[in-house]
Amino acid sequence: MKCRACGGKAVVNMRQHKLALCKEHYLEWVPEQVARFIKKYRMFGPDEKILVAVSGGKDSLSLWDILIRLGYNADGLYLGLGINEGPDGGADSGYSAESRRMVEQFALGRGLKLHVVDIQQEYGHSIPALSLMTHRGQNRPCSVCGVTKRHEMNRMARELGYDVLATGHNLDDEAAVLFGNTLSWQKDFLLRQGPMLPGHDGLARKVKPLCRFYEKEMAAYALLRGIDYIYEECPYSVGSTSIYYKELLNQLESERPGAKLAFYLKYLEARVSGLFIQPEEQPQALHTCPVCGQPTQYEGKCSFCRMLEKANSET
Protein backbone atom coordinates (compact mmCIF):
# COMPACT_ATOMS: atom_id res chain seq x y z
CA MET A 1 0.00 0.00 0.00
CA LYS A 2 1.29 3.44 -0.92
CA CYS A 3 1.39 6.73 0.94
CA ARG A 4 -1.17 9.11 -0.49
CA ALA A 5 1.17 12.07 0.01
CA CYS A 6 4.39 10.80 -1.56
CA GLY A 7 3.77 7.34 -3.07
CA GLY A 8 6.29 5.75 -0.69
CA LYS A 9 5.57 2.67 1.39
CA ALA A 10 2.65 3.28 3.77
CA VAL A 11 2.92 2.17 7.40
CA VAL A 12 -0.50 3.33 8.59
CA ASN A 13 -3.80 2.67 6.83
CA MET A 14 -6.89 4.45 8.14
CA ARG A 15 -9.78 2.73 6.43
CA GLN A 16 -12.34 5.11 7.91
CA HIS A 17 -10.62 8.01 6.12
CA LYS A 18 -9.54 5.94 3.07
CA LEU A 19 -6.07 7.28 3.84
CA ALA A 20 -2.72 5.47 3.96
CA LEU A 21 0.47 7.33 4.93
CA CYS A 22 4.20 6.67 5.26
CA LYS A 23 6.01 7.31 8.55
CA GLU A 24 7.10 10.83 7.65
CA HIS A 25 3.71 11.99 6.45
CA TYR A 26 1.81 10.26 9.26
CA LEU A 27 3.95 12.06 11.85
CA GLU A 28 3.09 15.34 10.12
CA TRP A 29 -0.60 14.50 9.68
CA VAL A 30 -1.36 13.70 13.35
CA PRO A 31 -0.36 17.10 14.84
CA GLU A 32 -2.10 18.88 11.95
CA GLN A 33 -5.31 17.07 12.81
CA VAL A 34 -4.89 17.73 16.54
CA ALA A 35 -4.48 21.45 15.78
CA ARG A 36 -7.65 21.29 13.69
CA PHE A 37 -9.66 19.65 16.50
CA ILE A 38 -8.33 22.10 19.13
CA LYS A 39 -9.65 24.92 16.96
CA LYS A 40 -12.89 23.21 15.90
CA TYR A 41 -13.96 22.38 19.45
CA ARG A 42 -12.56 25.66 20.88
CA MET A 43 -10.40 23.80 23.38
CA PHE A 44 -7.80 26.48 24.11
CA GLY A 45 -5.87 29.36 22.60
CA PRO A 46 -2.13 29.69 21.86
CA ASP A 47 -1.35 31.61 25.06
CA GLU A 48 -3.20 29.45 27.56
CA LYS A 49 -1.47 27.26 30.15
CA ILE A 50 -2.25 23.59 29.70
CA LEU A 51 -1.92 20.82 32.27
CA VAL A 52 -1.67 17.42 30.59
CA ALA A 53 -2.66 14.42 32.71
CA VAL A 54 -0.02 11.79 31.93
CA SER A 55 -0.24 8.15 32.97
CA GLY A 56 2.81 6.74 31.18
CA GLY A 57 0.61 5.20 28.49
CA LYS A 58 0.76 5.79 24.75
CA ASP A 59 -2.12 8.26 24.54
CA SER A 60 -1.20 10.75 27.25
CA LEU A 61 2.52 10.81 26.41
CA SER A 62 1.71 11.20 22.70
CA LEU A 63 -0.67 14.05 23.53
CA TRP A 64 2.02 15.83 25.52
CA ASP A 65 4.49 15.31 22.68
CA ILE A 66 2.04 16.67 20.09
CA LEU A 67 1.11 19.75 22.14
CA ILE A 68 4.80 20.58 22.60
CA ARG A 69 5.41 20.05 18.87
CA LEU A 70 2.54 22.46 18.16
CA GLY A 71 4.22 25.07 20.39
CA TYR A 72 1.78 25.05 23.30
CA ASN A 73 2.72 25.83 26.88
CA ALA A 74 1.96 22.36 28.30
CA ASP A 75 3.15 20.87 31.60
CA GLY A 76 2.51 17.35 32.85
CA LEU A 77 0.66 15.95 35.86
CA TYR A 78 1.31 12.41 37.04
CA LEU A 79 -0.80 10.80 39.75
CA GLY A 80 0.90 7.96 41.66
CA LEU A 81 -1.91 5.50 42.34
CA GLY A 82 0.08 2.81 44.15
CA ILE A 83 -1.02 -0.05 41.91
CA ASN A 84 0.80 -3.36 42.37
CA GLU A 85 2.95 -1.97 45.13
CA GLY A 86 3.29 -3.03 48.75
CA PRO A 87 0.64 -1.96 51.29
CA ASP A 88 2.81 0.95 52.37
CA GLY A 89 3.49 2.04 48.80
CA GLY A 90 6.79 3.48 47.66
CA ALA A 91 8.01 0.24 46.12
CA ASP A 92 10.34 0.65 43.17
CA SER A 93 8.70 -2.03 41.09
CA GLY A 94 5.15 -2.72 39.99
CA TYR A 95 2.73 -1.06 37.59
CA SER A 96 2.64 2.41 39.15
CA ALA A 97 6.40 2.56 39.68
CA GLU A 98 7.01 1.59 36.05
CA SER A 99 4.49 4.07 34.68
CA ARG A 100 6.02 6.84 36.81
CA ARG A 101 9.46 5.95 35.50
CA MET A 102 8.17 6.26 31.91
CA VAL A 103 6.65 9.67 32.57
CA GLU A 104 9.70 11.03 34.39
CA GLN A 105 12.00 9.76 31.66
CA PHE A 106 9.80 11.42 29.00
CA ALA A 107 9.75 14.77 30.84
CA LEU A 108 13.45 14.72 31.69
CA GLY A 109 14.52 13.83 28.15
CA ARG A 110 12.61 16.78 26.73
CA GLY A 111 13.18 19.29 29.54
CA LEU A 112 9.46 19.49 30.38
CA LYS A 113 7.86 20.46 33.68
CA LEU A 114 6.18 17.59 35.50
CA HIS A 115 4.03 17.73 38.65
CA VAL A 116 3.74 14.51 40.64
CA VAL A 117 1.08 13.73 43.25
CA ASP A 118 1.51 10.49 45.17
CA ILE A 119 -1.95 9.56 46.42
CA GLN A 120 -0.58 7.43 49.29
CA GLN A 121 1.71 10.24 50.49
CA GLU A 122 -1.00 12.86 50.07
CA TYR A 123 -3.90 11.00 51.68
CA GLY A 124 -2.38 8.04 53.51
CA HIS A 125 -3.80 5.30 51.30
CA SER A 126 -3.07 3.90 47.85
CA ILE A 127 -5.94 3.40 45.37
CA PRO A 128 -6.22 -0.39 45.97
CA ALA A 129 -6.19 0.22 49.75
CA LEU A 130 -8.88 2.91 49.45
CA SER A 131 -10.98 0.52 47.41
CA LEU A 132 -10.66 -2.25 50.00
CA MET A 133 -11.41 0.03 52.93
CA THR A 134 -14.43 1.68 51.36
CA HIS A 135 -15.84 -1.56 49.85
CA ARG A 136 -16.42 0.24 46.57
CA GLY A 137 -16.19 -1.25 43.10
CA GLN A 138 -16.86 -4.99 43.50
CA ASN A 139 -13.24 -6.12 44.03
CA ARG A 140 -12.02 -3.69 41.37
CA PRO A 141 -10.60 -0.27 42.33
CA CYS A 142 -11.57 1.38 39.00
CA SER A 143 -14.42 3.44 40.44
CA VAL A 144 -12.26 4.66 43.37
CA CYS A 145 -9.51 5.39 40.86
CA GLY A 146 -11.87 7.40 38.65
CA VAL A 147 -13.22 9.51 41.54
CA THR A 148 -9.70 10.15 42.87
CA LYS A 149 -8.22 11.05 39.50
CA ARG A 150 -11.02 13.48 38.65
CA HIS A 151 -10.70 15.11 42.10
CA GLU A 152 -6.92 15.42 41.99
CA MET A 153 -6.67 16.54 38.38
CA ASN A 154 -9.17 19.32 39.04
CA ARG A 155 -7.50 20.30 42.31
CA MET A 156 -4.05 20.54 40.74
CA ALA A 157 -5.25 22.41 37.65
CA ARG A 158 -7.00 24.99 39.83
CA GLU A 159 -4.32 25.30 42.54
CA LEU A 160 -1.47 25.64 40.07
CA GLY A 161 -3.30 28.18 37.93
CA TYR A 162 -3.67 26.26 34.69
CA ASP A 163 -6.30 27.40 32.19
CA VAL A 164 -7.18 23.96 31.00
CA LEU A 165 -6.76 20.27 31.81
CA ALA A 166 -6.00 18.00 28.84
CA THR A 167 -6.42 14.22 28.88
CA GLY A 168 -5.35 11.63 26.31
CA HIS A 169 -8.74 9.99 25.73
CA ASN A 170 -8.87 8.58 22.21
CA LEU A 171 -11.89 7.74 20.07
CA ASP A 172 -12.05 4.14 21.29
CA ASP A 173 -12.21 5.40 24.89
CA GLU A 174 -14.95 7.85 24.01
CA ALA A 175 -16.94 5.39 21.90
CA ALA A 176 -16.77 2.73 24.64
CA VAL A 177 -18.07 5.17 27.28
CA LEU A 178 -20.76 6.37 24.91
CA PHE A 179 -21.74 2.78 24.13
CA GLY A 180 -22.09 1.97 27.84
CA ASN A 181 -24.09 5.11 28.55
CA THR A 182 -26.33 4.46 25.56
CA LEU A 183 -27.02 0.87 26.58
CA SER A 184 -28.41 2.16 29.88
CA TRP A 185 -29.66 5.55 28.54
CA GLN A 186 -27.74 7.53 31.16
CA LYS A 187 -29.08 10.95 30.24
CA ASP A 188 -26.89 12.82 32.72
CA PHE A 189 -23.74 11.26 31.34
CA LEU A 190 -24.89 11.60 27.74
CA LEU A 191 -25.32 15.33 28.36
CA ARG A 192 -21.78 15.72 29.64
CA GLN A 193 -19.58 13.76 27.23
CA GLY A 194 -17.67 15.79 24.68
CA PRO A 195 -14.28 16.96 23.37
CA MET A 196 -14.43 20.11 25.52
CA LEU A 197 -16.19 20.58 28.85
CA PRO A 198 -16.20 24.28 29.80
CA GLY A 199 -14.89 25.25 33.22
CA HIS A 200 -17.39 26.66 35.73
CA ASP A 201 -18.03 26.96 39.48
CA GLY A 202 -14.57 25.70 40.47
CA LEU A 203 -14.35 23.04 37.76
CA ALA A 204 -11.38 23.34 35.42
CA ARG A 205 -12.04 23.28 31.68
CA LYS A 206 -11.38 19.78 30.37
CA VAL A 207 -10.34 18.92 26.84
CA LYS A 208 -9.65 15.73 24.87
CA PRO A 209 -7.61 16.69 21.80
CA LEU A 210 -7.18 13.02 20.72
CA CYS A 211 -10.88 12.19 20.83
CA ARG A 212 -11.08 11.62 17.06
CA PHE A 213 -8.09 9.29 16.73
CA TYR A 214 -8.50 5.54 16.90
CA GLU A 215 -6.56 3.81 19.66
CA LYS A 216 -4.49 1.98 17.05
CA GLU A 217 -3.52 5.30 15.45
CA MET A 218 -2.21 6.64 18.76
CA ALA A 219 -0.21 3.49 19.36
CA ALA A 220 1.24 3.90 15.86
CA TYR A 221 2.11 7.52 16.59
CA ALA A 222 3.91 6.59 19.83
CA LEU A 223 5.80 3.77 18.12
CA LEU A 224 6.83 5.85 15.11
CA ARG A 225 7.88 8.80 17.29
CA GLY A 226 9.97 6.49 19.46
CA ILE A 227 8.01 7.35 22.61
CA ASP A 228 8.69 4.84 25.37
CA TYR A 229 5.40 4.04 27.06
CA ILE A 230 4.14 1.39 29.44
CA TYR A 231 2.95 -1.57 27.32
CA GLU A 232 1.60 -3.51 30.27
CA GLU A 233 -2.04 -3.01 30.98
CA CYS A 234 -3.20 -1.84 34.42
CA PRO A 235 -3.71 -5.20 36.19
CA TYR A 236 -7.19 -4.13 37.30
CA SER A 237 -8.38 -3.34 33.78
CA VAL A 238 -8.14 -6.97 32.64
CA GLY A 239 -11.70 -8.14 32.00
CA SER A 240 -13.12 -4.63 32.53
CA THR A 241 -16.36 -3.54 30.90
CA SER A 242 -14.62 -0.74 29.00
CA ILE A 243 -12.28 -3.21 27.32
CA TYR A 244 -15.20 -5.52 26.52
CA TYR A 245 -17.05 -2.63 24.84
CA LYS A 246 -13.94 -1.70 22.88
CA GLU A 247 -13.66 -5.26 21.61
CA LEU A 248 -17.31 -5.27 20.57
CA LEU A 249 -16.89 -1.96 18.75
CA ASN A 250 -13.75 -3.24 17.04
CA GLN A 251 -15.69 -6.24 15.73
CA LEU A 252 -18.16 -3.80 14.24
CA GLU A 253 -15.34 -1.66 12.86
CA SER A 254 -13.71 -4.67 11.28
CA GLU A 255 -16.84 -5.33 9.18
CA ARG A 256 -17.86 -1.69 8.76
CA PRO A 257 -14.83 0.63 8.60
CA GLY A 258 -15.71 4.00 10.09
CA ALA A 259 -18.49 2.67 12.35
CA LYS A 260 -16.74 3.75 15.57
CA LEU A 261 -16.03 7.25 14.27
CA ALA A 262 -19.58 7.67 12.94
CA PHE A 263 -21.06 6.50 16.28
CA TYR A 264 -19.14 9.19 18.16
CA LEU A 265 -19.48 12.03 15.65
CA LYS A 266 -23.21 11.44 15.10
CA TYR A 267 -23.63 11.53 18.89
CA LEU A 268 -21.85 14.90 19.07
CA GLU A 269 -24.10 16.23 16.30
CA ALA A 270 -27.20 14.89 18.04
CA ARG A 271 -26.16 16.46 21.32
CA VAL A 272 -25.59 19.86 19.72
CA SER A 273 -28.98 19.66 18.01
CA GLY A 274 -30.62 19.16 21.42
CA LEU A 275 -31.46 15.44 21.40
CA PHE A 276 -30.67 15.04 25.10
CA ILE A 277 -31.67 18.45 26.48
CA GLN A 278 -34.22 21.12 25.73
CA PRO A 279 -32.33 24.24 24.57
CA GLU A 280 -33.87 26.39 27.35
CA GLU A 281 -32.95 23.87 30.09
CA GLN A 282 -30.20 25.18 32.34
CA PRO A 283 -27.48 22.95 33.77
CA GLN A 284 -27.86 22.18 37.48
CA ALA A 285 -25.94 24.52 39.81
CA LEU A 286 -23.03 22.93 41.69
CA HIS A 287 -22.40 23.02 45.43
CA THR A 288 -19.11 23.47 47.28
CA CYS A 289 -17.65 20.63 49.33
CA PRO A 290 -17.18 21.93 52.92
CA VAL A 291 -13.98 19.86 53.33
CA CYS A 292 -11.91 20.39 50.17
CA GLY A 293 -13.76 23.33 48.63
CA GLN A 294 -14.16 21.60 45.29
CA PRO A 295 -17.45 21.65 43.39
CA THR A 296 -19.86 18.79 43.92
CA GLN A 297 -23.19 17.84 42.40
CA TYR A 298 -25.04 17.45 45.69
CA GLU A 299 -25.05 19.41 48.94
CA GLY A 300 -22.51 18.27 51.55
CA LYS A 301 -19.17 16.56 51.11
CA CYS A 302 -18.00 15.55 47.64
CA SER A 303 -17.69 11.85 46.77
CA PHE A 304 -13.89 11.93 47.16
CA CYS A 305 -14.05 13.38 50.69
CA ARG A 306 -16.83 10.97 51.68
CA MET A 307 -14.71 8.09 50.39
CA LEU A 308 -11.65 9.30 52.30
CA GLU A 309 -13.67 9.79 55.47
CA LYS A 310 -14.92 6.22 55.26
CA ALA A 311 -11.41 4.87 54.67
CA ASN A 312 -10.02 6.84 57.62
CA SER A 313 -12.79 5.60 59.92
CA GLU A 314 -11.75 2.02 59.04
CA THR A 315 -8.14 2.50 60.16
Partner: protein, 66 residues
Protein backbone atom coordinates in the same frame (compact mmCIF):
# COMPACT_ATOMS: atom_id res chain seq x y z
CA UNK B 1 7.37 -22.76 5.86
CA UNK B 2 6.10 -21.00 8.97
CA UNK B 3 5.93 -17.52 10.42
CA UNK B 4 5.99 -16.76 14.13
CA UNK B 5 3.64 -14.16 15.61
CA UNK B 6 4.23 -12.94 19.17
CA UNK B 7 1.52 -11.17 21.16
CA UNK B 8 1.92 -10.35 24.87
CA UNK B 9 4.64 -12.99 25.20
CA UNK B 10 2.51 -15.71 23.60
CA UNK B 11 3.77 -17.32 20.40
CA UNK B 12 1.62 -18.39 17.44
CA UNK B 13 2.68 -20.11 14.22
CA UNK B 14 1.03 -19.61 10.85
CA UNK B 15 1.87 -20.66 7.29
CA UNK B 16 4.18 -18.41 5.31
CA UNK B 17 2.75 -16.82 2.17
CA UNK B 18 -0.47 -15.54 3.64
CA UNK B 19 -1.23 -11.89 4.30
CA UNK B 20 -0.95 -10.39 7.75
CA UNK B 21 -4.74 -9.96 7.85
CA UNK B 22 -5.29 -13.67 7.09
CA UNK B 23 -2.71 -14.61 9.72
CA UNK B 24 -4.49 -12.46 12.32
CA UNK B 25 -7.81 -14.08 11.42
CA UNK B 26 -6.17 -17.48 11.82
CA UNK B 27 -5.18 -16.68 15.41
CA UNK B 28 -8.47 -14.88 16.17
CA UNK B 29 -7.00 -11.42 16.63
CA UNK B 30 -8.70 -8.36 15.17
CA UNK B 31 -6.47 -6.14 13.07
CA UNK B 32 -8.02 -3.13 14.86
CA UNK B 33 -6.55 -4.33 18.16
CA UNK B 34 -2.85 -4.70 17.23
CA UNK B 35 0.06 -3.12 15.41
CA UNK B 36 2.32 -5.53 13.54
CA UNK B 37 6.08 -4.94 13.58
CA UNK B 38 8.63 -6.71 11.36
CA UNK B 39 12.30 -6.01 12.16
CA UNK B 40 11.37 -2.72 13.80
CA UNK B 41 9.14 -1.57 10.92
CA UNK B 42 5.37 -1.42 11.06
CA UNK B 43 3.60 -3.45 8.40
CA UNK B 44 0.03 -3.31 7.07
CA UNK B 45 -2.71 -5.92 6.67
CA UNK B 46 -1.93 -6.66 3.01
CA UNK B 47 1.75 -7.55 3.67
CA UNK B 48 2.69 -11.11 2.67
CA UNK B 49 4.41 -12.96 5.52
CA UNK B 50 7.67 -14.70 4.64
CA UNK B 51 9.05 -18.03 5.75
CA UNK B 52 11.06 -17.96 8.95
CA UNK B 53 10.28 -14.43 10.00
CA UNK B 54 8.96 -13.23 13.35
CA UNK B 55 6.24 -10.60 13.60
CA UNK B 56 5.78 -8.75 16.87
CA UNK B 57 2.17 -7.80 17.58
CA UNK B 58 1.71 -4.78 19.82
CA UNK B 59 -1.64 -4.77 21.63
CA UNK B 60 -3.20 -1.33 21.43
CA UNK B 61 -6.29 -1.58 23.64
CA UNK B 62 -6.19 -0.18 27.14
CA UNK B 63 -8.96 0.42 29.61
CA UNK B 64 -10.04 1.03 33.20
CA UNK B 65 -11.27 4.11 35.02
CA UNK B 66 -12.41 7.13 33.02
Amino acid sequence: MTVKLILRGKEYEVRAGMTLLDALKKINVLSEAVLAVREGEMILDDEILKDGETIRLVAVISGGAQ
